[in-house]
Amino acid sequence: MEFPKDIKYTREHEWVREDGDTVVVGITDYAQDALGDVVYVELPQEGGSVTKDEPFGVVESVKAVSDLYAPISGTVVEVNDAIVDSPEVINEDPYGDAWMVKVRPGNPDEIEDLLTADEYQKYIEEEK
């Protein structure tokens, strides 16, 4: 199981990577492994807004349905439509090609509240 050090994490198993004045959001390796074969993704519209800790989309495996929770509040500036057509990429490359949305943060301080790789890894081990 991978926990890259250069990104932040949430307790809802999303990751956040800062990229200039936007942040990229996806789900973690742990999340894709727990879900199993991902077969369906629903993402928000470009230009829409997302609110921290509120659902912004859904990811479904053969057996499970899981809401995606926004790690921060902001405006959606780009959506990865490729994973809607090929959801299996989420299992194959959760931290890379399977990024989900790019968000322009409303309040950049919110990023500081997220978990580091070590904190997230510890959180998962406690959850098991």
Binding site: G36, Y40, E60, K63, V65
Partner: protein
């Protein structure tokens, strides 16, 4: 309550299984992945540990009479070593359990019951046939495997003392598998050719390993969990107790009237079903396919012209068809294939239409008569 484990628990753990609680058992839900396991069963061969299933034995000179009383299908027509899909019903015609009946002789039958219903079915049978026959819960005397897929016969044949190619669909033999006493039936819950093997729990690991390892040379055997078992049965439109069936649903509503013999002199639930057959059913189990993106799941509501018209009982992405499929109860007026409806998927109504299961059609046709568990 502590979860029960099958004799193969450690073997599953060694294979990297992810476990899930099911009917009081800690069962493998998947090893590598549901999609891969599902496709292995459709294209070659998969091995399932289904030792959680219960077995109830009915013995004695009155055994056949007892079976005829507590099951809705006609058991009298069965020959020795023949199986039958049938129902145990309550007096309102509701399903206490859906079961596979094994006739060893006119004086000995075994019912393979759902894990979730073993205690209930055992209690119900004892209560209703007391004095007619001996009833025993023999679940702990059997481990059970299902070897399913077009390659199943070729994989299993070298290890069985008798010639399994002569076992017809819904028949069985008492024989030896890997030199251990076993019941081998040509039955299953996947829509593929295949076998179910009942054997002494202490022999389970040995027989599992023989089938897995020797199977490697013959095209391979994929260990499969309950996840693939569920998608496989859903593609065939087979009901699962607790989803499509319960004590408030009759076999007629579930579209399974062909497994009920209303011409039989008597069985528990008959009067209610005769009445319902005459009056017609208000709701009917149908298959549905989505016409818009989204995956229907249990308890999602079905709508017709803005009126609530039913509820989904099982739904999933179909690995074989690569689209979303489901089953559910709708008003009987909507049961015709092609009928357009809407399914509410997380707050949004999505277009769907009624289809007649099975969703999946096996190349070269299906094995014998339809059945379920």
């Amino acid at each position: 309550m502590e979860l029960k484990r099958t004799p193969l628990y450690e073997v599953h753990a060694g294979l990297g299984a992810r476990f899930v609680e099911f009917a009081g058992w800690e069962m493998p839900v998947r090893y590598k992945g549901v999609m891969e396991e599902h496709r292995a069963v459709r294209s070659s061969c998969g091995l399932f540990d289904v030792s959680h299933m219960g077995e109830i034995e009915i013995r004695g000179v009155g055994a056949l009479e007892a079976v005829e009383l507590i099951t809705a299908n006609r058991a009298s027509g069965l020959k020795d070593r023949q199986c039958q899909y049938t129902f145990i019903l309550n007096r309102d015609g509701g399903v206490v359990d859906d079961v596979v009946l094994y006739r060893f002789s006119a004086e000995r039958f075994i019912l393979c019951v759902n894990a979730s219903n073993t205690d209930k079915a055992y209690g119900w049978i004892r209560e209703n046939v007391s004095g007619m026959a001996d009833v025993r819960d023999v679940s702990l005397e059997y481990a059970q495997f299902a070897l399913q897929g077009p390659g199943a016969e070729k994989i299993l044949k070298p290890h069985v003392a008798s010639d399994i190619s002569r076992i017809k669909y819904y028949h069985f033999e008492v024989t030896e598998v890997a030199n251990e006493l076993a019941v081998v039936s040509r039955t299953g819950y996947t829509g593929e050719d295949g076998f179910e093997i009942y054997l002494e729990p202490s022999m389970a690991i040995k027989v599992w390993k023989v089938i897995m390892f020797e199977g490697k040379k013959l095209g391979g055997v994929t260990p499969c969990g309950l996840g693939a078992r569920d998608t496989l049965r859903l593609e065939m439109g087979y009901p699962l107790y607790g989803f499509e069936l319960n004590e408030d649903i009759t076999p007629l509503e579930a579209g399974l009237g062909r497994f009920v013999c209303l011409g039989k002199e008597r069985f528990i639930g008959k009067e209610a079903l005769v009445r319902q057959a005459a009056d017609g059913v208000e709701k009917t189990l149908v298959g549905l396919e989505m016409d818009e993106p989204g995956i229907p799941r249990p308890h999602y509501k079905v709508f017709k012209d803005n009126d609530e018209a039913g509820e989904i009982t099982s739904g999933s992405f179909s690995p074989s068809l690569e689209r979303a499929i489901c089953m559910g109860y709708v008003k009987s007026s909507l049961k015709a294939p092609g009928t357009a409806v809407e399914i509410e998927v997380r707050g949004k109504r999505k277009k769907a239409h009624v289809v007649r299961p099975p969703f999946y059609h096996r190349p070269g046709g299906r094995p014998g008569a339809e059945g379920g568990e």
